[in-house]
Amino acid sequence: MKIGVKILPKNEVLDTQGRTVENTLRAHQREVNQCRVGKYVQLDINESDETKALARAKEIAEFVLYNPLIETYELEVVKR
């Protein structure tokens, strides 16, 4: 089963990439309220039970994928 890990900079932490992309978009008349740039990690886990796969992905995410000081993450089941 494939689990996607969406990692974003925490809201209260400055996102330097997001700020720069946001400013550039504004300079090109493509203004948005906010832009945040994160990472997406896809894990193919050898597990067919969704709950177990998510638990495994959570453990992996917290082991190394994200830095709790500056980032948050969300898991999603990748349907095909």
């Binding site: 330097t16 990439q17 720069t20 992309v21 550039t24 090109h28 740039v37």
Partner: protein, 218 residues
């Protein structure tokens, strides 16, 4: 008329002053081309897109700079056959702008590399006639994302057209076929990861950069 070299400047460009110093050292005039402005090609004899970290290398190296207004003028200059050289981040900008083939991605080591390297000229670039095929150069590199990547069929086309300009003698970053510099099909637009402007005087540790810039600007 004194020859004027246009040096592009984006937010975050940081080798601009170094390139200016080198152009002056060769007895030529330099002029800034600010990213928000457009320019008249006829006022210049050649263009350099310097290295550095335009827009902090955020999103993808060179991606945000490639969209700047000054690039539409540069595109025009390239189409008209003016010599254009992209150095390091300037090379990345030219690939993102579609003026050069391929892409530059993170070094195989995933680390920034600053060191002097040996390079071999593979093919002549249109203007760089002072550099003979097979000649070697010693220049410094300084990049985190300098691994040249290109798909096989495009690589074949590049070979057919003689667009592989220079290669690393020792493949320091995992580039496809150790490619360090390329040109477009008409050979007037070239990009290279090493920094010729950092090898202009013996006190810098080498002077091989002179022949690269000299041939562009002559």
């Amino acid at each position: 008329m004194k020859k004027t070299v246009g040096i592009l400047r984006f937010l975050g460009t940081n080798c601009d002053r170094d390139v200016w110093q080198s152009v002056e050292a060769l007895g030529l005039e330099a002029q800034w081309l600010w990213f928000e402005d457009q320019f008249r090609c006829e006022d210049f004899t050649a263009f350099i897109v310097p290295g550095g970290f335009s827009y902090g290398d955020y999103l993808r190296c060179g991606a945000l700079a490639a969209k700047a207004p000054v690039m539409s003028s540069l595109r025009e200059a390239a189409a008209k056959g003016y010599p254009v050289l992209g150095i390091c981040n300037g090379f990345q900008i030219l690939t993102e702008a579609g003026l050069l083939p391929g892409a530059l991605v993170r070094n195989e080591s995933r680390k920034f590399i600053d060191k002097w390297v040996e390079l071999k000229i593979a093919n002549l670039a249109g203007w760089a006639t002072a550099l003979r095929s097979g000649e070697t150069l010693r220049l410094p590199v300084a990049h985190g994302e300098g691994r040249f990547y290109v798909e096989d069929d495009e690589l074949k086309r590049m070979h057919d057209q003689g667009q592989v300009w220079m290669t690393y003698v020792e493949n320091i970053n995992g580039s496809v076929e150790a490619i360090a510099g390329v040109s477009n099909r008409s050979k007037n637009v070239c990009g290279m990861m090493p920094h010729p402007e950092r090898a202009m005087f013996s006190w810098m540790g080498g002077e091989d950069g002179r022949s690269v810039l000299n041939s562009l600007l002559r």
